[in-house]
């Protein structure tokens, strides 16, 4: 008798619990605060989102830089962390022309080593052109019999030799991985200079570069020296290994989708994105 009534109660209980599953039930208090677009933490979070995007796209010709923050909200999740909701414009890294808007969330978790990023962007740059530019760099590097080498890119006067520019762009893409990993809510990075680049001629399909880079750390103002190994095949995720002088072991990018710390839906065409 008891078992029968319990069996009937089961589905009823499930029905009662459903609204909670949909989030209509009580939830922990979350403080949400709209930030001024000039707020430094908003800008910092936007840059982190772009480091992540630049790494995941893994394309020297598609690198983006921050334009302007259009909207920023901060949610404090007690005991867990701070989550930034951002809308910002972006510029092509080389030409500084506007190339679209992004929506991103950047979640600084107390218990995880690196920020979790979700980012979606519109894209106004010609995708075909990007693929062609990437491929022409790739081909040129594959055809090298003597490995490409270089120092101080840019040099003290800001010059970048045109022949070394794609290698510099690849360093930016590789450094983006490292800058994403190292960024915290309060510590941000810029890639200041490639001190050294050396190509490894490989027998497989990839191109392979060894870099020494200098990162500029904010707000400490320190210049951090890092060693970077970047392995790239167009259309495939960048493989990055790095070692910074303040650490005592190599860190390495994951292969595959690596969605546990973030995701990007890449490119889609939408005229207006609402937040």
């Amino acid at each position: 008798m008891q078992r029968q009534s319990a069996a009937r109660l089961g589905p009823l209980l499930l029905l009662l619990l459903l609204p909670l599953a949909w989030g209509k039930g009580p939830s922990p208090p979350r403080a949400a605060e709209e930030l001024q677009v000039s707020n430094r933490l908003a800008g910092q979070a936007a840059r982190v989102a772009l480091h992540y995007l630049n790494y995941r796209l893994g394309s020297p010709s598609a690198l983006r830089a921050l334009g302007q923050v259009r909207k920023a909200t901060l949610k404090t999740i007690p005991g867990i962390g701070h989550k930034y909701y951002l809308q910002f414009t972006t510029e092509d890294y080389k030409s500084s022309l506007n190339v679209g808007t992004c929506l991103a969330t950047v979640f600084y978790l107390k218990r995880k080593p690196r920020p979790a990023v979700n980012i979606n962007c519109t894209y106004t740059k010609d995708q075909k052109q990007i693929r062609e530019d990437d491929y022409s760099f790739y081909k040129k590097m594959r055809q090298q019999t003597k490995p490409i080498i270089g120092n101080d890119i840019p040099d003290s006067y800001g010059n970048i030799e045109p022949a070394l520019e794609p290698a510099w762009a690849l360093a930016v893409a590789g450094s983006s991985y490292l800058m994403w990993e190292k960024s915290t809510e309060n510590l941000g990075y810029f890639m200041a200079q490639v001190k050294n680049v050396k190509q490894w001629i490989t027998k497989d399909d990839s191109i392979d570069f060894d870099y020494s880079v200098v990162l500029h750390e904010i707000p400490t103002q320190e210049m951090i020296s890092c060693h970077l190994r970047v392995i790239w095949t167009p259309g495939h995720p960048l493989k990055v290994k790095y070692f910074c002088l303040s650490e005592n072991q190599w860190s390495e990018s994951e292969e595959g989708s690596g969605t546990e710390s973030g995701s990007t839906n890449g490119i889609f065409n939408e005229k207006e994105a609402h937040f």
Binding site: S38, N39, G67, P147, S156, G158, N159, F190, Q221
Partner: protein, 435 residues
């Protein structure tokens, strides 16, 4: 299998005997010409300890005149060495016969040196006048100091040069005074180069100096500013650091003062002022880039300005210029308490940024230091503001991070031009709102 090298280079068999004085003398004579023709830089890959030891054997032979750019370390650490032409064959044969892999990092060192010289000459053409001075390139300390003298000589009724002190390493610290007369008129202070690696600022300072003399008598607004106020411009606020960025470390920020009890040199001159000195927005570690120093005004470069400002007593606007990240900032940096004149400063900043942007569309953010950039204790304009200099501002010039400190020279004039519009906005406001 290897061939015997032709004379007069060193025979590899003799390497094993160590010490061939004749060859040492010959090579020393050849080397004293100070030319690198035919010299190469090799990168040696040592896969095991035995190979490291073999390379170390080469180090023991002074007659080879090897110059290790990166000396032998552990296995797997590449070794970089400059090898004079005369020793090349022997060294390569030695490596090959010991199965030590190497690559040629620099094929011909002399051509690299020549290239660099050409670059330097192109950059550092000694001007004969302020009209032929190259404003679109970066200059050395000597060149900027020469420029100042040329400017004063060409405009003796408008410009004078004042020495306000000496740097730690004994360099004179100069300020240009632009004045049309009067006695201790209210004044506007501009400084650039307090952080030596921010090269766009000193370069802009040079341009501003020329702009002032070009505009007086031609631009009505600047003319009326100078008819009522004086302008002081300190172009190289940190000369020791600046010289160091040219000779040794392009990324040097601080002064060059020696820190007692530490191997690390230098104090951050923008954390050394007496405003919230020593708080969280600065470091107490001498090795840090934001080290505040042992006490406020410990740095001669800072003390010189403090003494000048106090003894002048009539400065009405103080603008300190940095790079990068494209910001216009007002006090405070050391506290989140709003400055008493917050609203007025914010309005001025907004107008100045709009003026800047009107030229090329360059976007700046503006706000108080602590909300817009980060907490900073012991900063310049917090001190000047607390001294009663109401219109105290800091600029962070171009860019937003692509080139950062290494801004290409072709951006010097555009940056200076747009920044000048913002400076004019602030100076006009100062002129029109005496206090």
């Amino acid at each position: 299998v290897f061939k015997m090298p032709p004379s007069p280079s060193v025979h590899p068999a003799q390497l094993k005997m160590k010490g061939l004085f004749v060859f040492a003398v010959l090579l020393a004579a050849a080397f004293s010409r100070e030319t690198f023709v035919g010299n190469q830089v090799l990168r040696i890959f040592v896969a095991d300890e035995a190979s490291v030891e073999k390379v170390k054997e080469l180090e023991e032979l002074p007659e080879l005149q090897l110059d290790f750019w990166r000396g032998p370390g552990g296995q797997d650490v590449p070794i970089d060495v400059q090898v004079p032409f005369a020793s090349l064959q022997a060294v390569k044969i030695f490596l090959e016969s010991n199965c030590i892999r190497y690559s040629i990092l620099i094929d011909d060192l002399q051509s690299l040196v020549d290239e660099e010289q050409t670059q330097m000459i192109r950059q550092h053409f000694m001007p004969r006048s302020v009209e032929t001075f190259n404003y679109a390139s970066y200059h050395t300390l000597d060149e900027i100091y020469d420029f100042m003298d040329l400017l004063v000589a060409a405009n003796p009724n408008l410009v004078s040069k004042i020495q306000i002190g000496n740097s730690y390493e004994g360099r004179p610290i100069y300020v240009l005074k632009f004045s049309t007369g009067g006695t201790k008129r209210p004044a506007i202070w501009l400084d650039t180069g307090i952080h030596s690696r921010e090269w766009i600022t000193q370069a802009s300072g040079v341009w501003f100096a020329k702009k002032i003399v070009d505009s007086y008598g031609k631009d009505p607004s600047l003319t009326s500013i100078l008819d009522n106020l004086d302008i002081f411009l300190e172009i190289v606020t940190n000369p020791d650091g600046f010289a160091f960025t040219h000779t040794t470390n392009r990324m040097w920020r601080k002064t060059k003062s020696v820190n007692a009890g530490s191997a690390c040199i230098g104090v951050d001159p923008n954390r050394n002022w007496d405003a919230g000195f020593g708080g969280d927005g600065a470091s107490s570690n001498p090795c840090s880039e934001t080290y505040h120093g042992p006490y406020a005004n410990s740095e001669r470069e800072v003390k010189a300005i403090v003494d000048f400002v106090k003894s002048h007593g009539n400065i009405k606007a103080f603008i300190s210029i940095h790079s990068y990240t494209q910001l216009l900032l007002y006090p405070y940096g050391y506290t989140s308490t709003r400055a008493a004149d917050y609203q007025e400063l914010d309005n001025i900043a907004k107008a100045a940024v709009a003026a800047l942007s009107s030229l090329y569309g360059t976007q700046y953010r503006y706000g108080s230091i602590i909300t817009t950039i980060y907490q900073a204790n012991g900063g310049t304009i917090d001190w000047t503001y607390n001294q009663g200099i109401k219109y105290s501002f800091t600029f962070e010039l171009r860019d937003t991070g692509r080139y950062g400190f290494l801004l290409p020279a072709n951006q010097i004039i555009p940056t200076a031009k747009e920044t000048w519009l913002a400076l004019m906005t602030i100076m006009e406001y100062t002129r029109d709102h005496p206090y």
